[in-house]
Amino acid sequence: MALTEYRYSDVIHRCFRCGYCKFPTSFIEVNNCPAYARYRLESYSTGGRLWLIRAWLNDELDWSEHLGEIVYSCAACKNCAEQCPLPFSDDIVDMIVAAKGAMVERGSVPSAVKEFLENVDRQGNPYGTARSKRGEWMEGTGIQEYDGQEFLYYVGCVGSYDTRAQQVARALGRVLQKGGVSFGVLGDRENCDGNDVGKLGEEGLFEALAEENIRQFKDLGVSKIVTLSPHAFNAIKNDYPRLDGTFEVRHYSQLLRDLVRAGKLDVSSGFKAKVTYHDPCFLGRWNAEYEAPRDVLRAVPGVELVEMERHRADALCCGGGGGNFYTDFLGGSEDSPSRIRVRDACATGASIVATACPNCLTMLEDAVKAEGLDDRLKVMDISEIVGEACQARGS
Amino acid sequence: MYELRFDERKCLGCQTCDCLTKCQYMDIDVETAKTEMRKIINGEDSFVLRQCVTCYACEEYCKKGNHPFYLIVERQEELDIPPLPRPLIKQGVQMGVPWRGELVVQDVQEPFLDMCMFPQLAGSIQGKLFDSVSIAPTDARQRAHFFCQLMYLHYARSSVIRERLPQVIENIARHNVKEVICFHDECYGTFASYAPAFGIEVPFKPVHFFEYLYNRLVDLKDDIKPLNLKVAYQRPCSSRLSSDKLHLVDDIFDLIGVESVEREYVGENALCCAGAIRMQKYEGRYELADDVLRRNIEDMVRAGTQFCVFNCPACFDSIGHVVARSGMNPIFMGDLCRLAVG
């Protein structure tokens, strides 16, 4: 693709590389951009990335696996969009996604990205595990297949296939049951929501997935959706409508808050621990939902909620966004964002780092192991904490 | 060129000279008032031209429907005795120059709300009260095309108003609406008082913002939850050009169930925000501004004010934070009404 065909050809040169995109609002650390945190080379900062993209589209640079990795190491966490003072700040992430799109159309993407996309195309999930195994997580939970219930509980790929995340998918199921929510799941019929496929620049595949899902949801008469993953929440809330798929979608943390407030969920057994909350990008910066998860935690007796120095719109991403939980361009170092993040969490003195995203959960959990913090810090999903808090006393 | 239609005979024949005798900033008896007005009419210098703090009030005091304040400003300019330091005049005059693009005529329907220099406040034009309203400008880069210019009465630059106003009126008229609701008192004053006073054609009917609010509230009567608050209204200079609309403030307060507090500085006797006074060049003006502000605020507090209600964004900007600092809530009239209808 030539620069002239690029959607942002008239904007991309306007990045000055002043570097605000690397920081949180307070400027306390230069590593609030996950990719820059990991590599600490200008090429991996958002500004550097934009300049490199422009150089590539201008034929000043050839495509290389390394260039691909630089571009795809963007976790689409939106910290740059949050911090960039220029008028086009809202478009920055999309400028990078559009460049990924150009690479996808040329067929030159890093191997890990290729696997991710081919797996989703074949099996409806990035791991390439059989579609026929998607529903296995729900065995023995008594959770029903969707059949006209009030809510469709959309689990997503990570919750369906990752062993740790499956526990969370079940935990949330149990909590919803306890809360008397009428809901069902799709099991093997569920397909990838496409959020990360889109963020990897494979617009065609994203639309195919979205249209397929929308058709299925409509056929089943779904009107309300509750998602386990903020990624699915983001896609269904912000992208499906333009494909004529408008549903009343909520992230589960929002639903739990209502249940607790309405007294439909008895959390009186409580959960005694000092807890810090990690904001998932696709809940926080992408959808400005910072309070619901915190409200839920505050509602649980015994939970002492403490904040990390960087939180809410300034939270450091776990490094799993934009498909990186699978492609892993940000892993393998003590500078990996997930490891920095668990060190941040540890510094608060909390014994639990809670999150509300299966991607964050698995990223942080691996990081806790890698940091050897197993004995000091436990990674839990909010639904698990609530789950424990609504165990009837004594049981 | 447009000229001020000032009836000298009315003025010279006036026995009360309320314009000057009622002035809150000058202590003038009828005799002096007569002499000074005569000088002013004859285009001679007068201490009035220097002592005037440009609060617009005399436009309201004058019972003869004459335009003493417009006249004073004319003379301040002719005799080159402006109340402000020159750099601030230059700055102010340049503020109204469109420099970020030509006028973009949006397609709008009535009711149409003219936001003048304040598109950034469009955020509060929403909800039931405004559901069918379309507004312009919506983009800060467009605002100079809608700027009513009346502010320059504080700058002894009536000529600038006359020079630019016709174009601004033309810009608004190009939106093809019969009625133009004026978000800002200043705009209403411009179209309803200043323009006629200078024989400037206004091809649409200006509607006072409070008039719209009042009528809309009447429509929504059933949705109104009385707020039961004690409020004080901060009268802007420009409301002196539309005293006939002042009753709407209390009418609205009644509708939304707020009590306007008993205070000294109210109605004719209201104190301005003193924002203009603070910038003036004469010795003591800065201190005067502080004094006016202090008296105004103390009066509100003494009366047990909970909310201080604004129409003019300039007033809000210059004293809103002091109001807040003194334990009251500054709020625009529109937002107060929105609270009431939920």
Partner: protein, 260 residues
């Protein structure tokens, strides 16, 4: 430079070994729940062909013998960049290599071919015979397990992979047939939109007699007696814990096993 690439569609068993089951006949696996895809090796053959077309011009034609569903794979080949695709309409799951070879030879024989490329083997039956057989039937030279290719002046210089990573080099006069080993290149990603665009490209279907072959041409030389699943392996150990410990643990296991 005209290149013909033979491709095959296979069931995707990569991630799902445990769900593979033998069907009633005992001669095939349950294909019900399995999704199918292009044979891994064939991707490399196609990529290699396309890269040479890019360098030298000419055409790339993808061919296969198989049932209607296999059009998906041909479409994928077209999406990758092949100019046209031809399917001989026969159920390849019931015919043997020699039959398939005869059919393909007949087809390829009718097409312009300076180079013919096969994947080194198939993921399902993995006999690795088809390429060589076709070469023999066409009477053109061939090289198997090619990991490097250089084409110039009517000759193909190839590098083959041998046991233990040894290599040998040959020069073949064109036309020639090569079976391509994985790793020779990095097959491109085929974007969804290019698959959509490929729908406009030519995909023709031929029958045996259009190729002038009698039905008995498909009589198998060998017959599949029975399929069996490999018995589940034993002694798998799951290592958990922090990276350092895990690594240490693994090292000891390997040492004990005498692997290192």
């Amino acid at each position: 430079m005209d290149i013909v690439v033979a491709v095959k569609q296979v069931p995707d068993t990569s991630e799902v070994v445990d769900v593979v089951e033998i069907d009633g006949s005992g001669k095939d696996i349950e294909r019900g729940t399995l999704v199918s895809r292009i044979n891994e090796w064939d991707k490399y053959a196609l990529e290699e062909a396309l890269q040479w077309k890019q360098k030298l011009g000419g055409t790339v034609t993808a061919v296969t013998v198989g049932p209607g569903e296999w059009d998906d794979t041909l479409r994928r080949a077209l999406a990758m960049g092949a100019d046209r695709a031809i399917r001989v309409d026969e159920d390849a799951t019931v015919i043997d290599c020699s039959a398939a070879a005869r059919t393909l030879a007949a087809l390829i024989g009718r097409l312009p071919h300076d180079l013919v490329m096969f994947g080194a083997q198939s993921e399902d039956f993995g006999s690795a015979q088809l390429g060589p057989m076709v070469a023999e039937m066409l009477g053109i030279p061939h090289a198997a397990l090619v990991v490097r290719l250089q084409v110039e002046e009517g000759e193909a210089h190839v590098e083959r992979e041998l046991e233990g990573g040894a290599r040998d080099l040959y020069t073949l006069r064109l036309p020639a047939l090569l079976t391509i080993q994985t790793g020779i290149n990095r097959p491109r990603y085929v974007s969804f939109s290019s698959v959509r665009k490929a729908r406009e490209k030519e995909l023709s279907v031929m029958s045996l007699d259009e190729l002038g072959l009698p039905p008995q041409a498909l009589t198998p030389a060998v017959e599949l007696a029975r399929l069996e699943l490999a018995p589940a392996g034993k002694g798998a150990v799951l290592i958990s814990g922090a990276a350092e410990e895990a690594a240490a643990r693994l090292a000891t296991i390997l040492r004990e096993a005498g692997v290192i």
